[in-house]
Amino acid sequence: MLRSLSLALLRFLVLMLVAGLAGATLVRLAPGFSSDEQELTPGLSSESIQAIRQAHLADSNVPRFYLHYLSALIHGDLGTSQSLNQPVVDLLRDRLPVSLRSLALALLLAWTVGLALAIGAFRLNSSWFTVAADASGGALISTPAAVLAVLFLILRWPPVLAVGLLVFPKVYRYTGNLIQNCLELPHVVVARAKGVGPWRLLTWHVVPVAIPQLIALVGVSISIGLGALLPVEVLCDVPGIGQLVWTAAQARDLPLLVNLTLVVSCLTIGATMASDQLRRVTGRVGA
């Protein structure tokens, strides 16, 4: 158990290191790395424009930048954002809690609604219920995050709920299919034939089989939720990391972007690895 945990931790660290380096390389190779909107200010002299470009090119050697970044990171220094002119630590301290809170709320909503509808469809066995649930899921998944968020703003509802509604169809769809799939397994068919009630069928025969995939889905839903949260934050001006990612990306702010890549990696890789570990444990218990 301890060995497996330490191996997982090592894997996590290696992945984080690679993610940071790959993220920095992608940013560096993208066009516009040394450009700054400030260059277009009327009346700037040639020397000033060159100085502005040089300031961006200071981090152009990615391996050197990354090594320098890592050595500073060990001492707790995350660097300074070029575009916002503030220490990255301060930016993350202000904004990360906002996004984490939103993400947690959104996922809670998505899973509650998604599971309730999937179980409802199974329990009620009504085609009309399934069609209604499918239709609402289909309608939400066809609506761009931006449009849904805007609608919530008009209605004065918290935009973060829009994220929950955007993730819910995915949870509902996968879970519904999973239950459907489990119902066709031989032991479930036998249990049904023996007259086992729907609740008992679900809790004793379907859930134990479905739990590893559901746990995998929990891990994945975090990255799906993040994917939906970021644009909603940008559009609705929620002061979270989504807004920060967009500002940093527009300005090719390498120090900030590397840190944000690591934060996103930490959340997605951490979530999937935690769900892996949990799956292993439940798998063992199930066995």
Partner: protein, 535 residues
Amino acid sequence: MRTRALLIWFVLFCASTVFGQSGGELRFCLRSDPKTFNPLLVNDESSETVRYLTAGFLLRVNRITQQPEPELATSWKVFDGGRSIRFKLRPGVRYSDGTPFSAADVTYTMEKLLDPSIHSSTSDAFRSGKGKLATRVLSPTDIELTFPAPIANLANLFDGVPIISSSSPQKEMAALGPFFVAEHKAGAFVLLKRNPNYWKKDSQGRQLPYLDSVRLEIEQNPDIEAMKYERGEIDLINTVSPAIYDKLARVNASLVRDAGPSTDTEELWFNEVPAAPIPAYKKQWFASTAFRQAISESINREDMSRLVFHGHAVPAVSNVPQSNKFWFNQALRPHRFDTAEALRRLQADGFRLENQQLRDKNGNAVEFSIVTNAGNRSREQMATMIQQDLKQIGIEVSVVTLDFNSLLERMTQTFNYDACLLGTVNGDLDPSSQMTMWLSSGEDHIWNPKEKTPATGWEAEIDKQMRIEASTLDFNKRKAAWDRVQKIAWEQQPVIYLLNKDSLVAISPQIKNAQPSPFRPQTYWNIEDLMLARR
């Protein structure tokens, strides 16, 4: 007696409602967090707004009359052919933290401003000649500044020089303007509070500003900003799009105002860089004056103004709005929309129309791409209209929207583009602020930057006229030179000016004394006079 008292109370109440009253909080939005609160390092719009509201200046250009007016300096005099300026400073002025203001602060500010590490258009304008600035403090309220070379429009440049304290413990955060920064929550808001030591008083001797505080909310999305305004959650919007303007006007016409033609223009230009990585035949087209003129004549600017800007723009002649009687060359008229004339011009230049497709003299089909910045809906629509217009003369245009940094790299470093559609925001109407754009050696000479020697005769002529304009204090000579530059640009069309946009603002009827100006900052340029009616 009681009735009379009630009547007096009622009249007073009504008067305060109609005429506004001191106190209260003005709320409006910034597009992003200010990058800096150091007034000397400002290079973004949000920081500029905070600086405008908090910093003190020796003089200010009135946004309505366009004339400099005394602020921290009660008077000034330019002499020595534009090399020197002497200021008489206002006595008894204090910063927000109580530190007294003196001539030493002006010296300190100028030293900091001219520090080689500071890159702003104001400091670059002061650095135009080789050598150092000499400051002479004649008394605590008299100071003389001598620059190494004459500077055109010297006094007005001080409209961009915020004075910072040399001795305050709060350093650059000590404010001389009407407000000071009280709180900043990143990504959410900036709160400014009334500077208790602000020097200005109104005609009745009441201390300004009337407002207690200004709350600047960070809001990137203009649609949400408009929604907040409509709901009364904010009090003004400095610039509204024509679509939002029309929507708000439909709700209540008093919510929005057209402040008249601004200095903002929309323009199209072709890549004329000889080393650009585009086919040689395209370079030949773009270098041809007849080709550029024909393109200009084939664009229906009236339609563009009507459909994209809902009539709140006029066909442009140059980057100076026609309404500007001061600097505009009155002899010039917008280019007519005339596709038949455009085709004649192209045929005379060797082009021919075959099966609805224009070909050059070597048989190459005339096709090019227009790049513009993504996310700007009006620009995308303008490009689509140009695409349709040019189809009428057999030219196939592809429209490409790029994120701003990618576009900038193509425009200024790789030169890998055919034509570009962008807008210019001219803060200052004085032509001397446009030197880097019109001089052939300039970085902002967008169609062919940093030419070693002028590539064409007319560019050499523009260089000559711009130097005359910048080297004299005689207004008539400056105007004549600038008129000539406008005429050459109008004939040669290195930049095809499309439209001069109106300045559209939204300002709540609750705000008294508002005088929206077409120039930045349109709505709050007279912030100390603004008053809120009882809500």
